[in-house]
Amino acid sequence: MKRLTLVPLICLALVGCDGPGDEKEDAPEPYASRYRPLPSEPVLFTGATILTGTGDRLDDADLLVRDGAIAAVGQNLEAGGAARVDASGLWITPGLIDVHSHLGVYPSPSVEAHADGNEITSPNTAEVWAEHSVWPQDPGFVTALAGGITSLQILPGSANLFGGRSVTVKNVPGRTVQGMKFPGAPYGLKMACGENPKRVYGGRGQAPGSRMANVAGYRKAWIAAADYAKKLEANENGEGEKPTRDLQLETLAGVLKGEILVHNHCYRADEMAIMIDVAREFGYEIAAFHHAVEAYKIADLLAENDICAAVWADWWGFKMEAYDGIRENAALVEKAGACAIVHSDDEYGIQRLNQEAAKIMGAAARVGIEIPPERAIRWLTANPAKALGIADKVGTLEPGKMADVVVWDGDPFSSYSRVQRVYIDGALVFERGNPKVNPATDFTLGTSAVAGGAQ
């Protein structure tokens, strides 16, 4: 019965939910988001320390959430019927956003049957979409939620020059990936520099076997994509035949049209500089360099080109291109006026991006760069939102934005603070110690005494 009523409801909510008979010029978006905010009640938090994500810190402040959105932030707000939550002593931040995750595509348990994040069969697999690999039952989504993650970008791996499309999701437990997809978020394209592609393919006696062949591979692909885009455009203008649909070129052409954002795995400073020139040659923009271990060496160049550097706090030395990693990296990027992001690339690190930021803050302070909490929080909220093209919807606590909110039991940059509550679109989705609120994935049911791992 429930099932029967659900289908029309979903259809009503979707744009272009036509039957198969209704052929239209604008085909419905494939694999469209079916995310629906969970039911929520208005709530007013009072007396909290609020890091707004805009760079401000408000002490003894209130936050009003209504209809799934931020209604107001400030002092002495009127509840107007909203439930009051005394948040004195607590800290409130925007929901954390991880710009680099493989949850769902490399889920736990990390068994071979689940390894769906890298299509290691060709250096260019721009045609694959990460969302077609996402397993929503990955227990890592729940533990990430307990760490305050409300949105994340799930990327293909880095074996290939072009790894495929990423997908940005809301960290709500879903039965399907469509039920998690962040509505209106643009797609990303995963590109990779350096050691991985040349090792994987060079090892097979195939191109690329060197960094110069990496670059040749990008350029060849962009030339083909530019040609494809030109034919499509011409056809739209009534000239020439419409080219046969090509999934690989479609994604690359999407980048050239500015609809798909480039997320470029690139460790070394010199390689990032080359990639900036590749982008210039073909007229696209790079949203962010990921694993930008050497971003601090070219922080000025990143600022000049408005490219974010997404980095770990302190991973280093696991391969040559990571040998020069330093803890101050993000702080030096920030100091140069560029956009710094702390990312995880890891199902454990994603549970504590706040602590990773704390390490950077401490290291930076040692060399006289003081980064207060209200600025550091942007590495985990506003800046990843910008890189993902969703900054108009999330990343800060500004009226009208989605009410993705984390309540902490203390300064989020202290080792001893933990997430108390997480709200996504105003709905309470995690409350520490309250199993009635907290989700648990199917996988942990009956296998684990500690369902979800997030006590």
């Binding site: 736990s108 348990p109 990390s110 068994v111 227990p139 890592g140 533990t143 050691e195 601090y296 060496k297 922080a299 000025d300 302190d314 991973w315 280093w316 030395g317 696991f318 391969k319 040559m320 040998y323 020069d324 990693g325 330093i326 803890r327 101050e328 030096l332 140069a336 199902e347 454990y348 549970q351 504590r352 602590q355 704390a358 390490k359 803050m361 401490g362 290291a363 302070a365 040692r366 060399v367 940059f413 202290s414 080792s415 001893y416 603070s417 933990r418 996988f443 942990t444 296998t447 684990s448 005494a449 500690v450 791992g453 006590q455």
Partner: protein, 438 residues
Amino acid sequence: MRRLDVIRSALAVAAVTLAATAHAEVLAVTHARVHTVGPAGTIENGTLLVEDGRILAVGSGVEVPDGARTIDASGQVVTPGLFTPMGQIGLVEVNAVRGTVDYVQRGEQFSASFDPMSAYNPRSTLVATNRIEGITHALVAPAPSWPDELGNRSTVFSGLASVVNLGDEDVLVARNVAVVANLGETGGGVAAGSRARAFMVLSTALDDARDYARNRAAYERRERRDYSLSRADMEALQGVLDGTRRLLVRVNRASDIVRAVELAEAQELEIVVVGGVEAWMVADRLAEADVPVILDALGNLPRDFDHLNARLDAASLLAEAGVRFAIGGHGAAQNHNARNITQSAGIAVANGLPWEKALAAITLAPAEIYGVAGEIGSLEPGKRADFVIWDDDPLELRSFPAAVYIGGKAVPMQSRQTLLRDRYLELDGARPPAFHDP
């Protein structure tokens, strides 16, 4: 001529060293909050006296002798040097560069006897990177073996583990304190089959080593039955059999942990559980058998079927049950980022472990587990002067050491990473950063 110069200057250095020994300077660290992790507990406004690389005294009313070099540590925190209880520091530079990786062996020639310490490099960049963040000691242990070119698997043994300090000289604290073995899923993998086979390989090896010890002469005459291990390996296991050398067992699933405890009881072995994410489920059994755990305190996901019940408050549960444990690094963070044991300890505190126990779990507890607590692990008179002066709470990630002492000597607060940082602090020079260094 040149050679003579060298000899002369060497003599001069020796003379200076002798003089220093004859009139040993006393170092006094004063006005600090001292966490001794020893019987003296935490001392407010404490003084630590150091002479000849050893702790002379520690307390609140300790008088500073005339002529002592004094460091005023007002507002600062002093702890014992931290001890990373499992890893391969000094045996690796870059994981993906095979030639720098010395913590693993392949094939079957050596198993329990594989002793990687001859490869230990005190000049590895990992040493300075970790010690300037307060890590003064490490267990250096081999990793599970890899198959050789023919695909031959090693036995369940990884080899021998030693305790080092992260100083520049006299680094060995205790050689070959343990033999490392692998059970559970990892054990099944290296034993080429079921985890039951790993268990059989282990118990057969112990039986063989025991038989060998009783029949060495016959073995030399080739008059004894075939053994599953080489002579070197059986020799390495003798300490395990007589209880002077620990058997470190990498194992995570509760049922496998219980099997290991049963084996230890049956054969009277001193075993240590390494990993132990499900140890909390059998904590009473571990406490009863007094089997300690080197805990992966961050592994809270079911990354395989041995980790189904991993949880972040495992340390607190072990403490409540009276299990002895040290907190280790997580996954790849045991070497390059061994420094992050402070993060693991802090997270354990956030999840219910008392702060003092968390500090002990990264100082005294590993020293006790490896039998070196008479020398290191806490700030007590007579012990080695391995300590850290912190600007704040050492388990807070924004806090850093102001100074680190190993054997009474301050280590230079410099690493390859601080050099890179300083080179790129300012990017506006007219000449490239390569010209920046002094």
